[in-house]
């Protein structure tokens, strides 16, 4: 199966800082998505971003499908941004959206007040 590598694995920042999280795939993927898991375990879908750039408030994401990577930008971090950020995608040749996504191991982000 595909390998999904996320970096950095851990990140500690002060409130107000900006950060960039990266996701690399070993093969071409589609349906690329970013998730945030809060300290209570709830997984929230942040972006569905198979290609291009999207923005939602202080968060934005860019996927360069031809180069097999995606970036998640967090600006003006707040303590509520703490948690684990996952990226996930389907292998391009797998045929359809019904296959399960393959997840990276996540970036554990801590925002200190």
């Amino acid at each position: 199966g595909i390998q999904v590598e996320q970096s950095p694995p851990d990140l500690i920042l002060q409130e107000g800082a900006n950060s960039t999280l990266r996701c690399n795939f070993s093969d071409s993927v589609n349906n690329l998505q970013w998730f945030h898991q809060n300290p209570w375990g709830q997984l929230i879908n942040l972006f569905y971003i198979p290609s291009g750039t999207k923005q939602n408030g202080r968060l934005s994401a860019t996927t360069v499908a031809t180069e097999r990577y995606s970036l998640l930008y967090i600006s003006s971090s707040q303590t509520t941004d703490s948690g684990v950020y996952f990226c996930a995608g389907h292998v391009m040749y797998s045929g359809g959206g019904a296959d399960g996504l393959t997840f990276g191991k996540g970036t554990h982000l801590i925002i200190q007040p």
Binding site: Q33, G41, L43, K105
Partner: protein, 111 residues
Amino acid sequence: DVKVTQSSRYLVKRTGEKVFLECVQDMDHENMFWYRQDPGLGLRLIYFSYDVKMKEKGDIPEGYSVSREKKERFSLILESASTNQTSMYLCASSLDNSPLHFGNGTRLTVT
């Protein structure tokens, strides 16, 4: 908003018991999934379903089965629970080529 509801937040069962984890979604999604999440191993796909009565094995189906009798409901069954099935179980649903939405998770402990 999409709502994916898992029937229990915490569950404690004994070794050998048959365990049912229930998941219901309210957005008429064709696709439903069961993942488990373990420290250091991330999220791993157990089973998924792309239609009523259809099911496909994921990466770690051993020791589990599923049932999808209605479009909105996807059940995960542990036929004979074992301690190595202690984990966080996450249900999710989606349309084709669309965002995946998760439930709140069920933390299962098998003693």
